[in-house]
Symmetry: D2
Subunit: 300 residues, 4 copies
Amino acid sequence: MPHSPANHATFLVAARDQPGLVARLAGFFADLGLNIVDASNHSDADVEGGPRFYMRLEVDLDGLSRPAAHAVLGPSVSRSALEGAFARLGESIGATWSVRYADHVAKVAVLVTKEGTCLYDLLLRQQSGELPCTIPLIVSNHAVLERVAESFGVPFYALPVTPDTKRDQERRLLDVLHRHHIELVVLARYMQVLSDAFLAEAPPVINIHHGFLPAFQGARPYHQAHARGVKIIGATAHYATADLDQGPIIEQDVARVDHRMGPDEMARVGRDVERVVLARAVRAHLEHRVIVEGPRTILL
Amino acid sequence: MPHSPANHATFLVAARDQPGLVARLAGFFADLGLNIVDASNHSDADVEGGPRFYMRLEVDLDGLSRPAAHAVLGPSVSRSALEGAFARLGESIGATWSVRYADHVAKVAVLVTKEGTCLYDLLLRQQSGELPCTIPLIVSNHAVLERVAESFGVPFYALPVTPDTKRDQERRLLDVLHRHHIELVVLARYMQVLSDAFLAEAPPVINIHHGFLPAFQGARPYHQAHARGVKIIGATAHYATADLDQGPIIEQDVARVDHRMGPDEMARVGRDVERVVLARAVRAHLEHRVIVEGPRTILL
Amino acid sequence: MPHSPANHATFLVAARDQPGLVARLAGFFADLGLNIVDASNHSDADVEGGPRFYMRLEVDLDGLSRPAAHAVLGPSVSRSALEGAFARLGESIGATWSVRYADHVAKVAVLVTKEGTCLYDLLLRQQSGELPCTIPLIVSNHAVLERVAESFGVPFYALPVTPDTKRDQERRLLDVLHRHHIELVVLARYMQVLSDAFLAEAPPVINIHHGFLPAFQGARPYHQAHARGVKIIGATAHYATADLDQGPIIEQDVARVDHRMGPDEMARVGRDVERVVLARAVRAHLEHRVIVEGPRTILL
Amino acid sequence: MPHSPANHATFLVAARDQPGLVARLAGFFADLGLNIVDASNHSDADVEGGPRFYMRLEVDLDGLSRPAAHAVLGPSVSRSALEGAFARLGESIGATWSVRYADHVAKVAVLVTKEGTCLYDLLLRQQSGELPCTIPLIVSNHAVLERVAESFGVPFYALPVTPDTKRDQERRLLDVLHRHHIELVVLARYMQVLSDAFLAEAPPVINIHHGFLPAFQGARPYHQAHARGVKIIGATAHYATADLDQGPIIEQDVARVDHRMGPDEMARVGRDVERVVLARAVRAHLEHRVIVEGPRTILL
């Protein structure tokens, strides 16, 4: 799953399944003279309410400057003209869809509390070019990770919270996110439950749960895992929803533990899983690979 | 974890932790002139009720015919003399212990219903020498796998069961197990819950659960996993206890699934995990590597 | 990767990359009124000789009885008419392509020597419906596995071979394969090197190498691995070619080993990897997912 | 494998196998009134030159202040007295041995060139307490990672090298290492081959190779892996020896790749493996778990 060159656009499409969808979608781009460099589609017949169609198309936009595109889109070919034309196609097939341009660098906010492993990991991957995004701000309900933010030159917002100030703190958090045009919020071990009201107004939120959901929901999953005597622990990255720990799962992975490990040692092993799982989920989201359908995700 | 040569004995010991235990246990064998070819011990300080000590010692019994052993055990050196002496040591340190001789071939009964993958797998591993046991009988509540038993030359007992006859069927099952001196019962997808009364009288019972416990307890775990949209499925081998799906876990493993897989496809992928997990658990039990402590196991 | 329903057809296409290919391929099926239920394509820009396009399309043939298909293919719609039309499309875009019908049950021959693990595994998967094929014959240069063939009711051909009779034995082997219309040969631990002449005339041949190629080529890979002190061993399934152990790799997997394992114990662990890797490779081939490009494979 | 409490000592012992070794070693500590909290031993019968015995003992030194210890070691019980007594035991059984005290914090130098992933990873793990060491200096033949060293407050030594100055640069490097009493050198993607002369005088050196040795030795392993079409890539941590890429392997791990990944993408996936493998190897070394025997390691 390599990064896309800058002149690529990626379309995600979900619709009721029906014959001819691939042809119509691919035909749309062929008529414009645009090359599809990578695509996959899948029809799921077992969905309540009837078969569903999912497709991801990665398209080379180079052709937009050539006559074919002009013939379709008119003299002033633009991305909004492209989107307008695609919207008409989408409507005709009853699709929900979205597009991401590879040269658009998403703005991601990272929320943390005291544990810095996942934060460092995201910052380093962003810095090395692994994550196609910027991280214009870090928010925490504690001050302890401010130094990390500083060493990467990222503005740090300390927004402490108590049960009494939760509503107010979330309001201020929303303000910060909106002011910076944040498109994705990553909870990198942010130890606060976000309210429904907040989630309703916030950009998409990805959370890392340090347990192998749906086992070990709630607090202290490593202590739960240790007490139960499991031989494998895991981590789960999911979209945050109003139901705690119930959001659509994006990615999971596991690691082996043994009888010599107490909960703290399990936590150490788990941290290596958490950060990799979170990074993969963030990357999949940024690369426009994730379709959410009810309680599940489709990764294309 | 290679098989032990035939003249080896393996001791498992659990006791309250106290200084000098390793020296006393190792010294016991040194005094007898017996070489310890593999051993490991671990003290767990975090156990309720005080620190616990666990040790596995694999000993070469060749030395039993030499003078040192005679000096300790008397003129007629025998395994029961060895055990008697070890029992005195065990008592003095307050240990629970057990011994397995590598040349003792355990008798294992396999219980099945209709699904044959795990059964075949166990039979083949036994046949190839991977599992140090014989399988003198296969029991099922259905007739469908009789042919498999036949092709391996293993007696097959069909013991059908209905809610009304459950008590009686379990009684007959116990009779069969006892008559054949069965030392381990393996539930290789036996789709019946065993009663507490049965478990109290039966030899140890290992069950394979086709879910990554403690997630997806109960029936149809793959359907549960599919509905929840997990990215990884698993299987769990555990000792059967009166609490369904709550017995001490011996082994677990996992496999990746994706959005193209329905529950049936997940089941197919899961079968490969199940049989490997079950075989590892049975092998660990037969090699005398498993200490059960409350809800957990120690694998040495 | 579920099995396809019986009325599906799967097309594999490779061509020089060029804009409009997805639209033309998908359009072909849309014009016929056939639904594409699963597809993926990828363009690789880094290929010597210019960018390459690869696509797999799984199509529901139900629509073949409807007017749209008749309009394109004429009154007597048949698979050969479908293939003829697709061939014209393929030619026009310079593609190599092939089709597999889900209701076509491929005939697979398994070649073995003395080691039966992979053979049993393939027979059981075939029997349980995991592998969309029949296994009409088993061939061996030894008699030892004849009993296994018998217990599954599969004809067994013993074709012993010595250096002097190799050419003749291969000739007889080819005769058997052709006589039974074998479409795929699986070397399930067949301990003979097949000659170039044989491979040139035989159906595709998949081999399992019990090493993590390209490490540990040649004989006794577990002894090589043990001597080198590796911490992980593996197995590799590849198409057999004239260059021993150099054929295009279809699938690989690994397992962890430790210092307590000698070469024999590594071999035991390795067997579990081998059979799973081989089964996955055979399945991928039978599901028409593998495109061979020079020394590599594309799995779609 | 949890960290040891500060008052623990860990002994590693290798010797010709002989009956009574465990009893003598454990008895030594029992006589001193010291509790063995974790131990394992293994005898390998398949070693050229005769069976070998390996043991790791982790001992609680609390008892050193009690009468039993005084009775054995004399009035002024000290670690050097303990070591002196153990040395006599070691000599009597022909053992090579070493001891590490948990409260001794090893000094580790990290050598890098331009790639910072492994460096960051080691610094973060050290900082979080995962690695029982300090990192008093970072050395590089380039200046590019100086900023990273600074942000962690670690002195950075730029020691550029050319073919002509190699001998001189290594001499200066040795001076720096010795001056800082470095006990372990970690090559965290240091792109220089160290000379035999340097290795002979340096502390132990652990290197991370970004290939699954022994496959893909030498330069650009990801390009080699891509060209060969492997489905799994890996990384190997080993002690550096005079034979490039041939040193005793400490740890390996792997990750899956697919046809969509070019060498650069493989390198990205590989980096996640490299840093985890290197960290595990460094940790195993620092926890005194690694015995080197010829071309192999024993991890206890």
